[in-house]
């Protein structure tokens, strides 16, 4: 029993510590994807944790089996011993049977009544607090209500409604990279991209891509720490078709957000939606756009719709489209 207790506490103390270390290393490697030494360190720690888990599980399984068997043998022994120690019953004299009988019945009725009342009150309170009705969601009024929220943020290329005008009047207006004037933090963006940052509350979103990888990044607006990065699968594997002009790059389109989700598009025709926790909600491919310079149009949100200016080819080709996708489902 002592060994099982030690095993349990060792597991509950050691494992969370190692898992925390592993998580820290994993966060670290997002900023340094090419660091082989760090990668090897993570692999070793991961293996160590898994070996430890297997060992402890095996130990606890065998220990529990032995403990169960021990308890069973003990119980049988105690029951056996009890047979030989059994005392004969000695019923006591009872005074007023009539009164006892009436009292017992009354108490039983009282208990049942109290039980029923407690049940009823519990049901009644649940009835009052837990009622969710599926009213058809009015996107228009919701959008209107959120206008002030949107204006306080920088949800798309050139800010709210694309005007390039911020609601704030106290922002810095001069910066100097050498002296650090007006610069709070600097962080390396893992993959290159010519898009602009988008800001919602304390989060800054960017996208980055090269010939083989596409990603979305979320940074902490106060510290510049990379909170998460989301991989965007390259649905079309024909990289040649998605070649872009060098100065355009593979991530020229600015991402957009509605405050709940963040959306991005790449010259490969891949459109993607992530939630604020970095989980991919949906992804689809619109086909590789026929663009001599490389696709660079930014995204826009209206109500529940993600608006895409799918500009390609020449005017006479008639290939360009204006696409609206449902923001929730794509």
């Amino acid at each position: 029993m002592t060994l099982l207790i030690v095993n349990f506490f060792q597991t509950s103390v050691t494992l969370p510590k190692w898992e925390e270390q592993l998580q820290t290393l994993k966060d670290e490697i997002r900023g340094k994807p090419d660091d082989q030494q760090l990668l090897s360190q993570i692999r070793q720690l991961d293996l160590q944790i898994r070996k430890f888990r297997v060992h402890r599980l095996d130990f606890s399984y065998k220990g529990t089996f032995l403990l169960f068997s021990g308890v069973a043998v003990l119980l049988i022994g105690v029951k056996w011993a009890a047979i030989y120690k059994k005392k004969m019953p000695m019923p006591q004299l009872r005074s007023d049977l009539q009164d006892e009988q009436t009292r017992k019945a009354m108490f039983a009725r009282l208990t049942v009544t109290i039980g029923a009342v407690v049940l009823g009150l519990g049901a009644l309170s649940l009835l009052m607090i837990c009622d969710l009705r599926f009213t058809i969601f009015d996107f228009q009024s919701s959008f209107d209500n959120r206008k002030s929220e949107i204006s306080k943020n920088w949800p798309r290329f050139r800010g709210p409604s694309g005007s390039g005008v911020s609601a704030y009047t106290n922002i810095p207006t001069s910066w100097n990279g050498k002296t650090g004037e007006g610069i709070l933090w600097k962080t390396k963006v893992p993959l290159p991209g010519n898009n602009s940052p988008v800001v919602w509350d304390d989060r800054v979103f960017l996208s980055g891509a090269d010939k083989s990888n596409q990603q979305i990044y979320c940074f902490d607006a106060f510290s510049g720490k990379l909170l998460w990065s989301g991989d965007v699968t390259r649905i079309s594997q024909d990289a040649k078709q998605a070649e872009v002009f060098e100065y355009t790059g593979f991530a020229a389109s600015t991402v957009t957000t509605d405050g709940r989700r963040v959306y991005a598009i790449f010259p490969t025709g891949d459109v993607v939606c992530f939630d604020f926790e970095g989980r991919k909600i949906w992804q689809k491919n619109l086909g590789i756009p026929n663009s001599a310079y490389g696709y660079a149009s930014s995204l826009e949100i209206y109500q529940n719709l993600l608006l895409i200016q799918y500009d390609q080819g020449e005017a006479e080709d008639g290939l360009s489209k204006f696409i609206a996708l449902d923001g929730f489902s794509g």
């Binding site: 991961d46 402890r56 019945a105 108490f107 049942v112």
Partner: protein, 433 residues
């Protein structure tokens, strides 16, 4: 006495610790390749159907033998041995499944869902104990049920539960039965199986919370005889009612009761009823008035229960996965919750229309509304009948095992002096022959 206390403490600690030790989390899949070759996943072959029929035959044999041992042989020792066999076979060997307690949910689902067919063995497991109870009383509970057996096995120092408390606690079993039927009928969940407190012990593995729950039942079971059977078991509720009608049943005495009172405290499950005395005369008129009031109250209670039950459809319907998903998607859509769940993400990935999902959820809720009427009405009926039952003055001249509550464990036999006379006579007859 002191030694017994130590033993109980050691057993209690061991059971709790077993729960904790067994509940160590399963390890997650590797994040990185570590150089080792991953074994190919294999699909274990399904259990051969012949074994299912063997289980049904073993159940039939165990029920027949238990009925013989309880009613004819009247041997507690033989009952105990057969009970240990059932615990090992239906519990640890068959890992607590199929069990008649949960099988009822399959039957209910098959009634309400035309696409669901009940396997014949499941139907047999559900029906056989009912048939036996109808003829021989609760011999299934006594010997064959592994859930009852494990509790009986750990019972060391029984403490009697007052009748009034027992009456109140038993309401929970009816509530549990009603919920189990409601959730099974709507295709939401098999809660009896999901919250089976002992199956984790039988499988030496399981959800941590359920293991702790099972551990608690066993620790309580050291002092309170079979707490799950008496206050929770939904199948026990059905067996209680059938046992009232049983053709043959357990009697404390083999022939006549001499009212020696020796058996009075012998039942750890509080199932022995004493002879009654005449009710006080001054209480007679009051009792009649009370009974009349309760009979009038019965339809009110049924209606009130039904109203509350149907009103709770928003809560109860959350047991259904579709309703849960619809609510989540709706809350995410209206911005009332942040982030998404795996289920809502997967739903959106399908590209299905949320309005269709809401409609489906509303249909399911409506089904819960109707089911809630029946469920609430049933609970109202139970409360009303219980109150009426407790207000009816019964006449008993002998010490009797309560038809409904008696679990047919046979503990009371050896307390009866007439039983000893019978055994002595039987021994003499054997030696003479």
């Amino acid at each position: 006495m002191i030694r017994l206390r130590y033993i109980i403490i050691i057993i209690a600690c061991s059971l709790i610790l077993s729960c904790v030790a067994e509940a160590v989390e399963r390890f997650p899949p590797p994040d990185f390749e570590s150089g080792c070759t991953q074994p190919r996943p294999t699909t274990p072959p399904p259990r051969q159907s012949i074994y299912e029929y063997i289980d049904a035959v073993v159940l039939l044999a165990a029920l027949s033998l238990s009925s013989y041992l309880v009613l004819k042989k009247r041997s507690r020792r033989a009952i105990f041995v057969l009970m240990v066999f059932s615990l090992l076979y239906f519990g640890f060997w068959r890992r607590g499944c199929v069990c008649p307690i949960g099988a009822g949910q399959n039957i209910v689902l098959s009634i309400f869902d035309r696409d669901y067919a009940v396997p014949i063995v499941v139907a047999v497991f559900f029906l056989l104990p009912l048939v036996f109870t109808l003829f021989f009383g609760r011999t299934f509970c006594a010997v064959v049920c592994p859930l009852g057996a494990i509790q009986d096995f750990v019972l060391l120092k029984p403490v009697s539960v007052p009748n009034w408390l027992e009456s109140g606690l038993r309401l929970f079993a009816y509530l549990y039965l009603g919920m189990a039927v409601l959730f099974a009928a709507t295709g939401s969940a098999f809660i009896i199986c999901r919250y089976d407190p002992f199956v984790s012990f039988f499988r030496l593995s399981g959800n941590f919370n359920i293991l702790v729950l099972g551990g608690c039942f066993l620790v309580i079971g050291l002092f309170i005889g079979r707490p799950y059977c008496r206050f929770v078991c939904p199948y026990g509720v059905i067996l209680r009612q059938l046992s009232r009608l049983s053709r043959w049943r357990v009697t404390i005495t083999p022939d006549e009761c001499v009212k020696c009172r020796l058996c009075e405290d012998s039942c750890p499950f509080g199932a022995i009823r004493q002879p009654t005395v005449d009710w006080p005369v001054h209480d007679y008129k009051k009792s009649k008035m009370r009974l009349a009031f309760l009979i009038i109250l019965l339809p009110v209670l049924i209606f009130l229960g039904g109203w509350l039950g149907t009103g709770l459809k928003s809560v109860t319907s959350r047991m259904h996965a579709t309703v849960r998903l619809a609510e989540r998607v709706y809350l995410e859509g209206t911005g009332k919750v942040e982030g998404t769940t795996d289920a809502s993400t997967a739903f959106r990935a399908t590209g299905a229309d949320a309005k269709e999902l809401y409609k489906e959820a509303m249909d399911i809720r409506a089904r819960f509304g109707f089911g809630g009427w029946l469920f609430g009405g049933f609970i109202g009926l139970v409360v009303g009948l219980k109150l009426i039952g407790l207000s009816v003055q019964r006449q008993r001249t002998d010490y009797e095992a309560d038809r409904a509550s008696c679990l047919a464990c046979g503990r009371c036999f050896q307390y009866c002096p007439r039983e000893h006379v019978r055994l002595t006579k039987a021994k003499e007859a054997v030696s003479q022959s």
